[in-house]
Amino acid sequence: MILSFKNVSFGYTTQSEIITNGSFSLTTKGERLFMVGPSGTGKSTIMKIALGLLQPNSGVVENKAIHPIPIMQNFNASLLPWLRVRSNLLFGIAPGHESLFEAVVSLFEIDSLLESRPTELSGGQLQRVLFARALCQKPDLILVDEPFSHLDLPSTNRLLIRLGEYLSEHKISVFWITHRHFEAKALAHRIIHLENQTLRPLQLQLLADTQVFTT
């Protein structure tokens, strides 16, 4: 068991709930669970509940990951503009534990950006740096919210294939929020769908035909 929601209900006010009696779980190491659904349904809120940043009104949330690493939506402000990209990637990592740095940098093709400042990067470059920084932390679980929304389709597709290999190799569990179905098709082991406060599992093979989460 890595992450589980059991009959979780949450609402910022008592009148309007974002999720009612929602249950799902990430059970095995290296499993990749995707959550999809229309925008504005509260996917990001569920991510905050999973991280313990918000407490559910009822139900049980268990996060047993040893080193969970989040990439929040529009996480740019968490990059420190007074440090170069290289220092941003390595900041907070204990000395001698930078072993993944080279591999991650080449995975995201950000070698040429290492000496730049975050403010000099485009939206897509920033998102690659953010993801690279998360992987440098040697997480056992990553929780990501629309991590490649500013990347164009061909770049994302290329990246997703290599990222999938990396995640499998390092047995990193993934909780991934997106409304772009091709991301889920490329990487997901399982998919859950959030709409009208209800979470329900979705068949992977249905993705191509369903219109539920058009971009």
């Binding site: 989040p70 968490s78 503009p81 007074w82 900041f91 907070g92 403010t119 932390q137």
Partner: protein
């Protein structure tokens, strides 16, 4: 068209200089024709000397050792007061912004002291420190501390949620969190309040010297007034104005060089 455009550009560059020329011209015409006499006939002709004669006197004063000794004292007091305020204001601001208990405890005292006219506290400072330099510097600190303290506290409280989340999950803590994340986040705000603090510090340094006497440009100005030496009076005030501009300009130069991410505040929020 191109010529016209570049001509406009040059004109726009020259406009500030033009403003100075207009200002000086009005002054000169006014003093040459004694126009102020029409409004206030009781004033003596020495009340409003011409700009040129003031400038001439300024050149003479600038050549004297006494002037530079006084200027050195005033600027040193200003910078000492400003420096202590920067250090103290930042440390206290970090504490008040980060430690909720301290923030709540100092809230009302800070509100009280920041609204108290600093000069009114001078007699009390004299009780503790006498009338020497330490009192004058303390007065500068008393006036310039609060803008910095408040800016630091506010920017600590406004640290973005993203930074808090990253700190919690990406292992940022201790001195690294303080010196590599929190302090640089607050520096643009601290630097902006520093501009205000520096000019307050100069005001109070001169005020202290004017009221207590002794040394410094402030007491030189009072001496000029008491001996009815109006040319000296104007020239010294002009010199003080120039020092004020130079100090502000110098600080801005240092801040822009050191805090290059100031321009990026909008980027962070986007």
């Amino acid at each position: 068209m191109t010529v016209n455009y570049s001509g406009k550009k040059i004109l726009r560059k020259l406009l500030p200089v033009f403003g100075v020329i207009v200002f000086i011209s009005i002054w000169e015409v006014n003093s040459y024709f004694n126009l102020y006499h029409l409004i206030a006939p009781s004033l003596s002709p020495t009340t409003f000397p011409s700009f040129l004669s003031i400038s001439e006197r300024l050149c003479e004063i600038v050549a004297s050792v006494d002037f530079w000794n006084a200027a050195r004292v005033t600027v040193a007091r200003t910078l000492a007061g400003f420096g202590i305020s920067m250090l103290l204001g930042t440390v206290l601001g970090l504490l008040a912004g980060r430690v909720q208990l301290i923030g709540v405890l100092v809230n009302i005292p800070v509100e009280f002291f920041r609204n108290l006219p600093a000069i009114a506290a001078m007699p009390i400072l004299i009780l503790f420190l006498g009338i020497g330099t330490s009192m004058k510097v303390a007065l500068c600190v008393f006036g310039s501390l609060f803008p910095i303290l408040i800016a630091t506290t506010t920017s600590m409280q406004n640290i973005s949620e993203d930074i808090h989340i990253a700190a919690r999950f990406y292992g940022w803590s201790g001195w690294r969190l303080l010196f590599i994340v929190l302090l640089p986040s607050a520096l643009p705000e601290i630097a902006a309040s520093g501009q205000t603090a520096l000019s307050i510090s100069l005001i109070l340094a001169v005020m202290g010297e004017m009221l207590i006497g002794g040394d410094g440009l402030g007491s030189m100005i009072v001496d000029a007034e008491r001996t009815f030496n109006n040319l000296n009076l104007y020239a010294l005030v002009m010199a003080l104005g120039i020092f004020g501009c130079l100090l502000a300009f110098g600080l801005r130069l240092i801040v822009n060089r050191l805090i290059f991410w100031k321009v990026n505040i909008n980027w962070q929020q986007s």
